[in-house]
């Protein structure tokens, strides 16, 4: 072929992103002994799944769950965007509130007892910054603390403390958590590594399971790229389990089209039904930062916010129907969250600015349907800077889902949530079995745990440089307990925490290419 032709074909490749990306790349270095393989996978045995739906941008709670009880004041504060009382969707046994008119799907779920509305969820000293508020919701930190891990990541680290060493193994060959999106978020970040993996987007997912490969330029570089991608696909530890799981579900219920949340939830339902033991899924829907033109001024029940809420409602409703169709609805509970609500008073751009507390939804067959909390009280004269106080700390919601849905024990719960939070009546509490043993290779452990002033850390090293750092929840290294060369073997070292405040500490072992983190709790 003439060189000119080559160059014509060789130029721009519309290089697509890969289908799957690990939260943290790992390689099973250690050999799982048959003994270990015979042990149960996780700390706690449960087949429950939690689906977390993030609404990006700060969802306007007051137009989502309309305060019928205070409608006059509400309408006065938001003259240009309020939802008329007679348009709000009525809810069985609750006249105090109504749902946004586009949320017919969620209205039906509420009336069938499968939806819980939790009013005014927030936290003290809330942040009005998207990034900071999102980090707070994901890390479950106090607003004046920076915590470098996510609440679900810490949960997964408690359940699978040896991850990633020795994973995947025959006892747990599936991802611990799956997120749909480019990167695994802070929510899934454990104390040292990300505990989840991501599926880039729905169309990449279908390319993966249908074996459609990406294009590459027609050049030597393109040839090498294709080779590497091939190996990447073969070594993506979870590609095969995901493909297998997907292949076991030939039919699903109907989902709305042109609805990216529905696309994501459809994949989630398929993977759960397909048999993955993955317990946490995270999906994402954005556009809620409605500073301007939140509604159409000719009809406030329509407009950008209305479209978003319709998609959310339709997607969740379709998802729930699919779970019932696939006969897995008893295993799945879902929740929405957004980094903040919006201002009580609307602005001149027919929109709302950043606010504070807002309602969130919990849904599923085993959810205790209804409304938790009072209707947020709207004053007669609302000032531009007024915001809603919170009634429930969002961490209570997390604590409840962990304890009552994922069967986390009390001790573990306080380590994961970093503090004690009350549990709320959100889901049916079901009994959970407790497994005694852990799979994967244990490289570091400590006893006693929890401890009051000191604890003995036991660790295994393959030799050469070995490091044990004690890290607090902000990610700060408070001590380098061990930092030298060892010959291969098992050793102990005492961590004396007498002068440190109570709380969660992570002992991070780094032995050349191996690393592992042990969660420790210092108590009174």
């Amino acid at each position: 072929m003439k060189r000119r032709n080559f160059l014509k074909n060789a130029v721009q490749a519309s290089v697509a992103l890969p289908s799957l990306i690990n939260g943290f790349s790992f390689h099973a270095f250690g050999n799982s002994s048959p003994f270990l393989q015979s042990l149960l996978a996780a700390n706690t045995e449960t087949d429950h799944v939690l689906v977390i739906i993030q609404l990006n941008g700060g969802n306007d709670g007051l137009n989502t769950v309309i305060p019928i009880q205070f409608h006059a004041n509400y309408a006065a504060a938001r003259a240009n965007i309020f939802i008329p009382e007679n348009k709000a969707l009525k809810l069985t046994n609750n006249n105090a509130i109504g749902l946004h008119p586009s949320m017919t799907g969620l209205r039906d779920m509420y009336n069938n007892g499968k939806l819980k509305i939790v009013q005014s969820v927030g936290y003290p000293q809330p942040s009005f910054s998207h990034f900071r508020a999102t980090d707070i919701w994901m890390s479950a930190s106090d607003s004046n603390n920076v915590v470098n891990s996510g609440w679900a990541g810490r949960y997964l680290n408690t359940e699978y403390p040896n991850f990633p060493n020795g994973y995947p193994n025959s006892a747990m060959q599936d991802p611990l958590a799956i997120q749909i999106g480019s990167a695994t978020s802070l929510t899934l970040q454990g104390p040292a590594v990300s505990m989840g993996m991501s599926i880039t987007n729905p169309s990449n997912f279908y390319n993966l399971i249908n074996g459609i490969s990406d294009t590459a330029p027609n050049t030597p570089a393109g040839k090498e790229l294709q080779y590497i991608r091939l190996v990447a696909q073969q070594t993506q530890q979870y590609a095969s389990v995901i493909k297998d799981a997907a292949s076991k579900v030939p039919t699903q219920a109907t989902y709305p089209t042109a609805n990216s949340l529905a696309d994501q939830l459809k994949i989630v339902a398929r993977l759960i039904k397909g048999g993955l033991k993955t317990r946490v899924y995270m999906v994402n829907y954005g556009g809620f930062d409605t500073h301007a033109i939140q509604v159409n001024n000719t009809d406030t029940t329509t407009g950008s916010h209305a479209n978003l809420l319709k998609n959310v409602s339709d997607a969740i409703a379709a998802f729930q129907k699919d779970l019932e169709f696939l006969q897995i609805d008893h295993r799945v509970a879902g929740m929405t969250f957004s980094e903040f609500g919006r201002r009580i008073k609307s602005n001149a751009s027919i929109g709302t600015d950043h606010g504070t507390a807002a309602p969130l939804f919990i849904f599923g067959k085993n959810v205790l349907g209804g409304t938790l909390g009072n209707t947020p009280n709207i004053a007669t004269n609302v000032a531009v800077g007024d915001n809603l106080p919170f009634q429930y700390d969002f961490r209570s919601v997390y604590a409840t889902m962990l304890a009552n849905w994922l069967c986390v024990s009390e001790t573990d719960l306080s380590q994961i949530m970093l503090k004690n939070f009350q549990t709320l009546p959100l889901v049916n509490t079901l009994s959970c079995k407790k497994a005694a043993n852990l799979a994967g290779d244990i490289l570091i452990s400590n006893y006693p745990n929890p401890f009051t002033s000191s604890t003995v850390i036991t660790f295994k090293t393959t030799g050469d440089h070995t490091l044990i750092q004690i890290i607090d929840t902000t990610g700060r290294v408070v001590e380098n307990l061990v930092d030298k060369v060892y010959t291969a073997g098992t050793y102990t070292v005492v961590f004396n925490a007498a002068n440190y405040p109570n709380g969660v500490y992570y002992a991070r072992l780094q032995n050349m290419v191996n690393q592992q983190v042990r969660t420790m709790l210092k108590v009174q």
């Binding site: 942040s127 990167a183 590594v193 040839k223 294709q226 440089h465």
Partner: protein
């Protein structure tokens, strides 16, 4: 989809048809990044900026200058176990061991380790020169294995021989390597005597170092035997850390070579200079064979451009380069200059087609991220860190100082896969784990941490408050194949904007990060986003290409 490893679904694109004609196109950022990624380890921001105002010839000339600063030799950073039979207490901690003749097994094991760590450090701190890439090239070419050589002093001496001659005369280098102590051990030269000739080196000299194994390399078994006899008599003296010639062991008869060597007869000599004189004749004889220059140029081409050498490349590139090598009496620089200034080198089809070797991945990555290592005065910490990186490279199947065998690393000769041999189901996850660990956790030794700091790197970009600029620049420096606009937009939104739709959220966060870095919450948020973006980009297959 069951696809085989040899992905021959499509016909591979042939290499470019351009020739050695000088490149006269734009010499801008893209070309500089390409040139630096090939001639150095990684294209560090500062280095690209440095060459931006220079022409291509100026840049190449500078890269072809040997380092003006010779690195300090490796030091004693190890602790000697009490059970060592002959400890090196005469060498103070932090002083060099390279001139200390110690043959104790434990000491040499520690010193071989020390050598590798030191070499890693030299590569990491490389000057703006092709010299370190060439040193590694010669190590791969004149392969030796430290595990077999054993004597760390020999190993260091051999290594310095390669480095100091890296940009010099290949014919002279070949001659010097032949009587180098490490090589005499490795390929049994020191056991090659008149009464018991050992053909090992004589064979590899022809098959691996000079003539190659191609269809035009026609040396015979008799040539191997004859060459072995020429090379009899060389020995090592461990006390003086040098080799010497022993006339008593030398075969003084005439040595007849085949038609491939024009039926040359090398006259057998006697006396103290016999070895040197006959060796000179041998080298001269071998280097008159036209195939030698071509063989060496093919190796250089595979190292710096690509492994696919078909008839067109052979005619348009290899043969002209070989002619250049011969007319310059086997000086390497003119050949490298011609190649690096050629149209062929900058052709689209020559770009991005190399799979990074493990050393390239590790050292290049550290340099591109501007990883700061402790001062050499803190030798314990710095060597500890170099050791970590040596280990990673070894895990990824490139143990510097110890290639798998005398042929060097397979990636540079094993058809049909060549570079693809670096990437398999074991090594690719390790590459990803390496970059993940460096960008997320870093490595701590003696309470000092090294890591790939994405935020510090971003500070060097032209307009980091613009999230598009951040993604574009990172992609431009990490990849040789462009990412589609849609992909870049998704990454910007998902990672830099946390799912928000307005760029100014990033801009505000970045500006606050710069003006108010003590705002920990914001700083953490910004650093984590950049970390996640860098991590993501390094997880993609594109990152493995240079």
């Amino acid at each position: 989809m069951a696809a085989s490893i040899n992905n021959s679904n499509s016909t591979p694109a042939p290499p470019p048809l351009t020739g050695l004609t000088k490149y006269i196109g734009i010499f801008g950022e893209q070309q500089i990044i390409h040139l630096l990624k090939r001639t150095m380890f990684g294209a560090a921001f500062a280095d690209v900026a440095y060459f931006k105002n220079k022409t291509l010839p100026e840049t190449v000339d500078e890269l072809l200058t040997s380092s003006l600063l010779t690195p300090q030799p490796p030091v004693k950073e190890y602790t000697v176990p009490a059970t060592t039979l002959v400890p090196d207490n005469n060498i103070a901690a932090g002083s060099t061991w390279v001139n200390d003749a110690n043959t104790d097994g434990t000491i040499n094991s520690l010193r071989r380790s020390s050598f590798k760590k030191w070499w890693m450090g030299v590569m990491l701190k490389q000057q703006r020169s092709i010299q370190e890439k060439m040193t590694l090239f010669w190590h791969n070419h004149f392969a030796t294995e430290t595990a077999d050589v054993g004597n760390a002093q020999y190993i260091y001496k051999h290594h310095q021989l390669l480095r100091l001659n890296a940009l010099g005369n290949v014919k002279n280098l070949t001659k010097l390597v032949t009587t180098d102590s490490a090589m005499l051990v490795y390929l049994n030269g020191q056991l090659n005597t008149a009464t018991a000739p050992d053909e090992n080196y004589a064979r590899e000299l022809q098959e691996l170092f000079c003539c190659g194994k191609g269809p035009n390399s026609l040396f015979t078994e008799a040539d191997v035997k004859a060459a072995a006899r020429v090379l009899t008599g060389w020995r090592n003296n461990a006390s003086t850390i040098s080799s010497y010639f022993d006339t008593a062991r030398h075969d003084t008869t005439n040595k007849q070579f085949s038609a491939f060597y024009n039926n040359t007869i090398i006259t057998g000599r006697t006396g103290a200079n016999a070895g040197e004189a006959e060796l000179t004749d041998l080298i001269n004889m071998i280097f008159t064979v036209p195939e030698v220059a071509k063989f060496i140029c093919r190796k250089l081409y595979t190292w710096f451009v690509y492994y696919d050498i078909d008839a067109t490349v052979e005619t348009n590139i290899i043969i002209p380069l070989a002619n250049l090598l011969v007319t310059n009496n086997y000086e390497i620089k003119p050949v490298l200059k011609a190649l690096l200034e050629s149209e062929h080198f900058y052709d689209t089809l020559s770009i991005g087609c190399q799979i990074k070797s493990p050393v390239d991945l590790v050292v290049g990555g550290c340099r591109e991220f501007g990883v700061k290592f402790p001062a050499s005065s803190d030798y314990t910490s710095s060597y500890g860190m170099y050791n970590y990186l040596v280990n990673w490279c070894s895990n990824m199947q490139q143990n510097i100082g110890d290639p798998p065998d005398v042929s060097g690393w397979k990636a540079y000769y094993q058809a049909p896969q060549f570079y693809e041999i670096w990437i398999n189901s074991d090594t690719l996850p390790k590459r990803n784990q390496y970059t993940d660990t460096m960008v997320v956790n870093g490595y701590t030794f003696n309470s000092i941490k090294i890591m790939y700091d994405a935020a510090e790197l971003t500070k060097l970009f032209t307009n980091p408050s613009n999230p598009d600029n951040v993604v574009d620049t990172m992609v431009q420096y990490f990849y040789r194949i462009p990412l589609s606009n849609n992909s870049k937009l998704q990454l910007k939104k998902d990672i830099l904007l946390s799912g928000q739709t307005s760029d100014y959220y990033w801009t505000d966060a970045w500006i606050t990060f710069i003006n108010n870095p003590t705002n920990t919450a914001n700083a953490t948020s910004v650093k984590n986003k950049l970390r996640d973006l860098a991590k993501y980009l390094m997880n993609l297959a594109e990152y493995q290409l240079a």
